[in-house]
């Protein structure tokens, strides 16, 4: 009798912060069950497999690849393509791979401006010659190379097709375990095609214990301007809680410590743009449209309320910028949104 071959698992990261790996680790001793159930063929910190090994694998050799991190450089892109070729099922794991996450706010600026902020105009700099990182530098001993820094942050499925998406910044550990456990137990996954798994199909509000009273508001508050009443909906108290336009699955953790949902699980099913969805949701809570109000009154009230909302782009698209209509318009105008600059950026 032959021993049944274990499915092969790979975990990789591109441009990311490491939180996804910590979240995987935070499944605790269940990580031992993962080790038991899978043959880990690529998780460089836990195993000694190397990139050359991955290149040497036959195409489709890896049964399941969890890929976290966004695509910011040509290296990230080449690695995404390599993992795509070698993997049967590729998962965009976490907000960066799913939707660009917070670093995709970079798509509101340029690589050249980023270089300026980091290397030129900064209170602790000593750079009188205006030195910028260069892709190739000649030093006395030879040439030194560093990769090109792209103008635009892209989500993984904007570079390669992915079967599934596990949302969250980072995905909550119980959800990670639920996905892995399902795979281990051979539960049939939904039809592939950037399909969301490991999350709810309803908004964060549905799992939030804070009470809603269909209360309307006249203005928004910044988090330090009010101390919210415990147990009550934050949005109805004027805090721009994104829960109403955000996929659930996290367990509504942030509102339970009195902080608004920031939207890290991304947009809801059937929604094209998280920010646009949020704007229409907000229209229903601002205190406009009382009986007897003229259309003009209502517009004024909405405008007055919106005046109190600072940084809509960075609020509504904090995690979803790379997938937003806004980004796609920019990216569509010149390929992937890159432009030549003076340093090592592209």
């Amino acid at each position: 009798m032959t021993v049944k071959e274990k499915p092969k698992l790979a975990i990789y990261w591109a441009s990311s912060c490491g939180g996804c790996e910590i979240a995987i680790l935070n499944i605790g001793d269940k990580i031992l069950a993962v080790d038991e159930a899978f043959e880990i063929v690529f998780w460089p910190c836990a195993t000694d497999f190397k990139y050359a090994d991955v290149e040497g694998y036959p195409d489709g050799y890896i049964d399941l690849c969890l890929f976290n991190g966004a695509i910011r450089s040509s290296e990230n892109e080449e690695m995404a393509q390599l993992m795509r070729r070698k993997s049967k099922v590729l998962v965009a794991f976490g907000s960066c791979a799913h939707e660009g996450c917070i670093p995709a706010l970079s798509n509101l600026t340029t690589a050249a401006d980023t270089f300026d902020a980091v290397y030129i105009d900064n209170p602790s700099l000593d750079n009188p010659a205006g030195t910028l990182p260069q892709t190739v530098t000649q030093v006395p001993e030879g040439d030194l190379h560093i990769p090109v820094f792209h103008n635009t942050v892209r989500a993984l499925d904007q570079v390669i097709p992915v079967e599934y998406v596990v949302p969250g910044c980072p995905p909550e550990s119980p959800q990670i375990w639920a996905v892995l456990e399902a795979v281990i137990n051979g539960v049939e996954l939904p039809a592939p095609g950037s399909t969301v798994i490991g999350a709810s199909h309803l908004a964060v509000c549905y799992e939030c214990p804070l009470e809603k009273h269909e209360k309307t508001i006249e203005r928004f508050y910044r988090p330090y301007e009010i101390t919210p009443e415990p147990g009550l909906c934050l949005l109805e108290q004027g805090l721009v809680c994104m829960g109403i336009a955000t996929r659930g699955g996290c367990g509504a953790l942030c509102p339970q410590v009195g902080m608004r949902c920031e939207g890290c699980y991304g947009l809801l099913d059937g929604v094209e743009d998280q920010g646009a969805n949020m704007v229409s949701a907000l229209a229903s809570v601002v205190g406009a449209g009382k009986p007897g109000d003229s259309e003009e009154d209502m517009e004024q009230q909405i405008a007055a309320a919106m005046e109190t909302l600072v940084d809509p782009a960075g609020t509504f698209y904090r995690f979803n910028m790379a997938q937003s209509l806004l980004h796609r318009m920019r990216a569509g105008s010149n390929g992937n949104g890159n432009e030549a600059g003076k340093g090592a950026e592209l």
């Binding site: 441009s15 990311s16 912060c17 490491g18 939180g19 790996e21 910590i22 979240a23 680790l25 935070n26 001793d29 990580i31 460089p44 910190c45 000694d48 190397k50 990139y51 290149e55 991190g69 910011r72 450089s73 290296e75 080449e78 690695m79 917070i102 670093p103 970079s106 600026t109 902020a117 980091v118 290397y119 209170p123 602790s124 000593d126 750079n127 030195t131 910028l132 990182p133 530098t137 030093v139 001993e141 030879g142 030194l144 560093i146 990769p147 820094f149 910044c169 910044r222 988090p223 330090y224 301007e225 101390t227 953790l253 410590v257 009195g258 902080m259 920031e262 600072v310 782009a313 960075g314």
Partner: protein, 500 residues
């Protein structure tokens, strides 16, 4: 002539790179440690409301989001000119101590420790957490997992989430601690103290009890005599959450003690075109290149440098462990304080002393009668203009500096991040170890190259914060080429991440 290059295995990897150049005789001519990633927080945060920074900048690093969250929160206190209630400072520091316990545990057992526990010449496949578990037993592996889990539980309970916490506010913290929660955390703090004492015992048994390892620790290959930086309290004892920044010179004399708000008068950052990371140095000494000594502005900021810069530890058992380390490795006192230890491998020992301090401090704070005071927010009234916040991140002094318009919308952001402080000394340590270990005619073995890697692994480097892996590890694979660029050897090394 033979040229050795330590290079990532392919261009695809791109998370870090070391190039070592040999001269015609076959000795090391120079070494370059390149950081090939940039994520650009200093630019894209401009235009954001300042109060969001604790929840934006924790995405710099998923391994130490608590450090960025805390530096940002303190920068907001300063920006909005609001003094948090006493209880709030205690909650923040207690939370931060729990984070230190989990972070230092991760480094010792998964990153730095394997070199000693499993051995510097062990095969790379064994030099990891699994190898440590095989060597010291599954029970200890479970204890490591339990320690991480229970402290992440505290982080989630008090900060909202176990990764990327959310509770920091200018002058406040969004969550008070109930008596029930307090009791639960007290049990955890007690377990942490036991675990820290146990970890120190392991270190003493394995390293101090082994003359070969002690020779390694004390060898010149791993010694760099730079300035030491660390945050100190009013009695010049180590503190992670708040205090003044003290710098001592290579002989142990205080060079400067400054308020974190004055950082730009004391720290400057040098730029090289062959890397994305900057090189901070002591402005009032000056940038003299990659050299150590009193005339070079290069400093380091690690567990070892913090102990060097302080006069001692603020908790009793950590103080005992501190004295034991200095008595063992140096023992000379000048003006009543120990001379600095410059043997970089002693950083692992210093890290465990800090682990014990963090556990004891957590216990002190959670048993403070005031800790359950529900009034955790001070009202914010001032018009913001500029704010600076500073904490000791596990990998070095972390400074956030914000400028805003009158509405508190960010106009300028500067971040001097933990590992970045150590970029120059790490580069020097790599060169020094390589020069000492790679000589003409040397057979380059995997173990030998691992010993080169050990030079920088002691810093627990956290490169661009875009690079990392499991418990904060990043595989940096190394290929050695001969003069014809034919591959002759390869190995992998592990680092963690935490930068911008």
């Amino acid at each position: 002539m033979k040229r050795i290059t330590i290079d990532p295995i392919t261009r695809l990897e791109g998370h870090g790179k070391i190039e070592i150049f040999l001269d015609d005789a076959g000795d090391v001519a120079n070494a370059y440690f390149q950081v090939p990633e940039l994520r650009g927080f200093e630019r894209f945060c401009v235009g954001r409301p300042a109060e969001e920074m604790p929840r934006i900048t924790n995405r710099i690093c998923g391994v130490c989001p608590e450090a960025h969250h805390m530096a940002a929160t303190k920068a907001l206190d300063n920006l909005f000119q609001v003094e948090p209630p006493v209880v709030t400072k205690k909650i923040r520091e207690m939370f931060y101590s729990a984070f230190y316990v989990t972070d230092h545990t991760t480094h010792f057992y998964a990153l730095g420790g394997p070199d000693f526990v499993v051995g510097p010449d062990a095969p790379p496949a064994e030099r990891n957490i699994l190898g440590v578990v095989r060597k010291v037993g599954v029970d200890i592996g479970k204890q490591v997992i339990d320690t991480r889990m229970r402290n992440h539980h505290v982080i989630k309970m008090v900060g909202g989430r176990s990764v990327h916490p959310v509770a920091g506010l200018p002058g406040g913290w969004s969550k008070a601690i109930s008596e029930e929660e307090r009791r639960e955390i007290e049990v955890i703090a007690n377990q942490n103290i036991e675990f820290a004492l146990f970890s120190l015992k392991i270190f003493e048994d394995i390293v101090l009890g082994n003359p070969e390892y002690m020779e390694l620790v004390l060898s010149d290959a791993y010694t760099d005599r730079t300035y030491s930086m660390g945050m100190v309290d009013a009695q010049n004892r180590v503190n992670f959450y708040d205090g003044m920044i003290r710098v001592v010179d290579p002989e142990g004399q205080e060079f400067v003690k400054y308020h974190p708000r004055d950082y730009a008068q004391h720290i400057a950052e040098h730029v090289e075109p062959w890397t994305y990371l900057k090189f901070p140095y002591l402005k009032n000494v000056g940038w003299k290149g990659f050299v150590d000594g009193k005339d070079s502005g290069v400093y380091f900021a690690t567990p070892l440098s913090r102990l060097n810069a302080a006069d001692g530890m603020a908790t009793p058992r950590a103080q005992e462990a501190y004295e034991k380390m200095y008595e063992t490795l140096g023992g000379k006192k000048i003006n009543g304080r120990y001379q600095p230890v410059h043997q970089r491998l002693a950083t692992h020992w210093a890290r465990l002393i800090e682990l014990l301090y963090a556990a004891e401090r957590m216990m002190e704070l959670i048993t403070d009668p005031e800790i359950t005071d529900p009034n955790v927010r001070a009202p914010v009234t001032a018009t913001p203009t500029e704010g600076i916040g500073c904490v000791e991140a596990p990998r070095g002094t972390l400074t956030h500096h914000y400028q805003t318009d009158e509405r508190g919308i960010l106009t300028k952001v500067n971040l001097v991040v933990g590992t970045t402080n150590n970029y120059a000394p790490m580069s020097m340590s790599i060169k020094k170890a390589a020069s000492a270990l790679i000589k003409r005619g040397t057979v380059i073995s995997n173990g030998l190259l691992n010993r080169v890697e050990m030079a920088f692994r002691s810093y627990d480097p956290c490169l661009s914060c875009a690079t990392h892996s499991l418990p904060g590890q990043m595989p940096l694979e190394v290929v050695i080429y001969d003069a014809e660029r034919q591959e002759v050897e390869r190995l992998s090394q592990y680092t963690s991440q935490c930068g911008t």
